[in-house]
Amino acid sequence: MNPQSCVNIQKEWDIVGARQLGRDIAKKIGFGTVDQARIATAISELARNIYLYAENGQICFEVIDNINHKGISMVAIDNGPGITDVSKVMEDGYSTSGGLGAGLPGVKRLMDEFDLQSEVGKGTRIKAVKWVR
């Protein structure tokens, strides 16, 4: 297991910090420029969600390195209000996207794997993984 690195998200500035850390890790693992930019954008989306809707949370990165695969895993955890209708937030054109293709469906597209768990009143946990091609 690799050591985890986490960034707390409270202020908008923390979004930049999370991007920076995530991009550095992605670069080290060997992602190309395009994928680095996509990973940073995915981090932005997840961090913004925490900043806007949960106020407090963190994003943790982990390097995955096994025989077949090399990649980056990111987990965004918050103790916010949770998501009432998950299928709705995963729908294109809904809420945060505003036609920009952003929001959680955007994250899902930018990354290779995506998993979401949310409990109303307790919080949300989103895990996303991208593999080096």
């Binding site: 190309g32 420029t33 395009v34 930019a37 996509r38 940073a40 954008t41 294109d92 054109g93 996207s97 036609g99 920009l100 293709g101 952003a102 469906p105 955007g106 597209r109 930018l110």
Partner: protein, 337 residues
């Protein structure tokens, strides 16, 4: 897809190199083709910028570092465009799926609401019904009684599209359940009124004109539930009159009774039934006048009924720049000479 990028990447680089050297139009035409291939293969803008960066680096290994950074900056700026593009793509696929679902529904409606134009000796019948969108909120129906009489219903749901179409299926099945011969127009409307009042949302109204033609006596009996009045053409005076008919729209009040009227149809006379999609045709922003409709009908009155309705429809379709605002139904009965 990766292979595709590689092929086009090589072309892109060659074209760019050639263009930098010559600035000729041919290279620009070439890149237009490459660009189209990219779009076809869902290549995102950031990937194209990346391609450009790689091509530059190969052509100019000593490229200024500041310039390189600026290109990376451009790549970052493209990411959001790529995301938006992918979302549009998905939404477009969804839209196509919806469209094809609606077209299946529309053809199902056609089958469900289908009615066969009957053949009655001495009577020439023409009918056309065209929806403004895919689903039709107008409805017409023929019932040929065992006694030789012909029942004709023309109806219009206030509203268009899918809700209107669903509503019409209900009307049709209610009508199918009536024992045909025993029912007079006023009794049919009274019955349907109850069905609509009980089953349809109060915000939805249906108008209907129901007529029964008795070939033996050439009498047309009819009742109307708030429907757009039709016209009677009197051959002996060569003039049109509006068919008088009063009655409340279906579904408003449960205990409505309907009046029944009678009309004698002589040789060469015509009965014209329609929906407001005909009378509310527009010429630009202006609603057309009744006389304009009658003039057009008259213009084609020498033709068999079916050709008449088709020509009249074509006339108004053209007048409205081939864009119907409402469902259009026109039915003409002509007593042959």
């Amino acid at each position: 897809m990766d292979n595709m990028i590689k092929v086009d990447a090589a072309t892109y680089k060659d074209l760019m190199k050639h263009y930098i050297e010559t600035q000729d139009e041919q290279s620009l035409y070439g890149v237009e083709q490459v660009s189209k291939a990219f779009i076809k293969n869902n290549i995102l803008p950031e990937e194209i910028v990346n391609l450009h960066i790689q091509a530059l680096a190969e052509l100019y290994p000593d490229m200024l570092e500041d310039f390189q950074h600026s290109m990376d900056f451009l790549l970052e700026a493209m990411i959001a465009y790529g995301m938006a593009h992918q979302e549009y793509q998905t939404l477009r696929e969804k839209q196509n799926a919806l469209k094809s679902e609606i077209s299946v529904a529309a053809s199902m409606q056609k089958t469900l609401l289908g009615t066969k134009k009957p053949t009655i000796e001495g009577l020439d019948i023409g009918v056309i019904s065209v929806p403004a969108h895919q689903m039709n909120g107008d409805y017409h129906h023929f019932v040929k009684g065992k006694d030789g009489s012909l029942g004709i219903a023309v109806a219009d749901v206030i509203g268009k599209g899918i809700p209107a179409a669903l509503c019409m299926s209900m009307i049709k099945y209610a009508m199918d359940s009536y024992p045909e011969e025993s029912m007079t127009p006023k009794a049919i409307l009274k019955n349907l009124n109850r069905v609509v009042e009980r089953n349809v949302d109060p915000s939805m109204f249906i108008t209907m004109f129901y007529a029964q033609y008795i070939p033996a006596s050439n009498i047309l009996q009819y009742s109307s539930a708030g429907h757009e009045p039709g016209f009677y053409y009197n051959a002996s005076t060569d003039s049109f009159t509006e068919i008088e008919s009063k009655g409340l729209v279906l579904g408003v009040s449960p205990a409505t009774e309907y009046n029944q009227y009678e009309l004698k149809v002589n040789q060469g006379d015509m009965v014209i039934l329609l929906t407001d999609g005909v009378t509310e045709c527009r010429d630009g922003e202006r609603f057309i006048e009744t006389d304009e409709i009658l003039d057009v009908i008259k213009l084609y009155s020498h033709l068999p009924s079916q050709e008449m309705v088709t020509q009249v429809y074509k006339h108004f379709e053209k007048l409205q720049d081939f864009e119907l605002r409402d469902d259009f139904t026109l039915l003409i009965l002509k007593r042959e000479v």
